[in-house]
């Protein structure tokens, strides 16, 4: 079995799957229950985050190291978009770069009931966690 993992690596993968699942559930809650429409940049982050749930869950079930590689291919672009979005919201990038056309603004995605917590920060945290965990799994299982 060349593609399998041992227990510590499997647990890290499991944590990454949990992070993806929680982030996906949160995105659904904000969008479908609270009726917050996602902005363009949020959509790109959703595209990267949602497939991580089945990919990482199946990798956990099948104990398949390759799932980690597939996950990283999604998590890295997600991380980059979330980082870009965070810098934009933080005012560290010129607003002229904002790719938002119609629809909600990418600059005003805050949850006022968590003390002005910005959604891109949460997204960045989730993607960063997943990238770190998956990279650790790769390192631990390297031959």
């Amino acid at each position: 079995m060349t593609a399998s993992m041992k227990r510590p690596a499997w647990l890290l993968l499991f944590l990454a799957a949990a992070a993806a699942l929680i982030a996906t559930a949160a995105a659904f809650f904000l969008g479908e229950v609270m009726g917050m429409a996602p902005c363009t940049l949020c959509w790109y982050q959703r595209i990267a985050m949602f497939p991580l749930v089945p990919i990482l869950s199946l990798a956990c079930l099948a104990n398949d190291r390759r799932g980690v590689v597939y996950g990283l291919v999604l998590a890295w672009p997600g991380l980059l978009v979330a980082a870009y979005h965070t810098l934009l919201v933080g005012g560290l990038l010129p607003q002229a770069w904002v790719p938002c056309g119609a629809g909600p603004s990418c600059l005003k995605q805050d949850l006022s009931w968590f003390g002005g917590l910005q959604l891109p920060w949460l997204s960045l945290l989730a993607f960063a966690l997943i990238v770190v965990l998956l990279s650790l799994v790769l390192k631990k299982t390297a031959r």
Binding site: R7, F14, A25, M34, S57
Partner: protein, 223 residues
């Protein structure tokens, strides 16, 4: 260290899925309860905003039960609920009155609302309302409303269109629209149709919920 057994792995992944799904469902319930309470509080704090002097009324003026609908002529759900409202009016001819308020959220709704108000001046309000709803699939394409088709349909009711379009631009009708928008913002109305029965919002949106809330208020008024 050895890897967890396949059974254990399945169990762990299942437990994760179930935990997150349960948290999600509990969150939905808590959030909806919170929103419902907020709307009840908002509606009772602004009860005077539910019915205005200018609001169109169907049914007896002094009915004990008032059903207020925040209405958008371009809204498909408003169209679907219209027969249900007529059915309720038939069921309680002496006890229920329907009050229409405007929530023109869709593009192209504003001019149609103005036209409805102008039709009221000619005594053709409900005829024109029914025509606007009947023709809705023709004119109310979201994003590309075709007012010409709405006007053509309305003309079939025999409304004096020249007079109606002139009236529609009058400051009186402008102020009706502005007042309704102020009121819907104060009441926290953000979807159409939004119903209030004697000031109470629906516990959850749906035909059954509307019918039972009306029945409940009718029964209460008989006590």
């Amino acid at each position: 260290m050895t890897l967890p057994k396949p059974n254990l792995r399945i169990l762990a992944v299942l437990a994760l899925l179930i935990t997150v799904a349960a948290a999600f469902v509990l969150g939905v319930i808590a959030y909806q309860r919170h929103e419902q309470l907020a709307q009840i509080q908002q509606a009772s704090a602004h009860a005077e905003r539910l019915v205005r002097m200018h609001s169109p009324v169907a049914g007896p003026q002094d009915a004990p039960v008032t059903l207020v609908e925040f209405f958008d002529p371009a809204c498909e759900t408003c169209r679907a609920f219209y027969p249900i409202l007529k059915d309720l009016m038939r069921a309680y001819p002496a006890d229920l009155r329907l009050v229409i308020r405007y929530a023109p959220f869709h593009p192209g709704s504003d001019p149609v609302v103005r036209l409805l108000e102008a039709a009221k001046l000619q005594g053709k309000y409900w005829e024109v309302l029914e025509m606007v709803l009947a023709a809705q699939p023709l004119w109310a394409d979201h994003g590309q409303p075709d007012l010409g088709k709405a006007y053509a349909a309305v003309a079939q009711t025999g409304l004096d269109m020249d007079r109606a379009l002139a009236d529609a631009a009058s400051p009186g009708i402008e102020s009706v629209l502005r007042q309704d928008i102020k009121d819907l913002n104060a009441l926290g109305v953000n979807k159409t149709p939004t119903f209030f029965v004697n000031g109470r919002p629906l516990p959850r949106f749906g035909e059954e919920q509307l019918r039972s809330l009306v029945a409940e208020e009718i029964a209460r008024s008989k006590r």
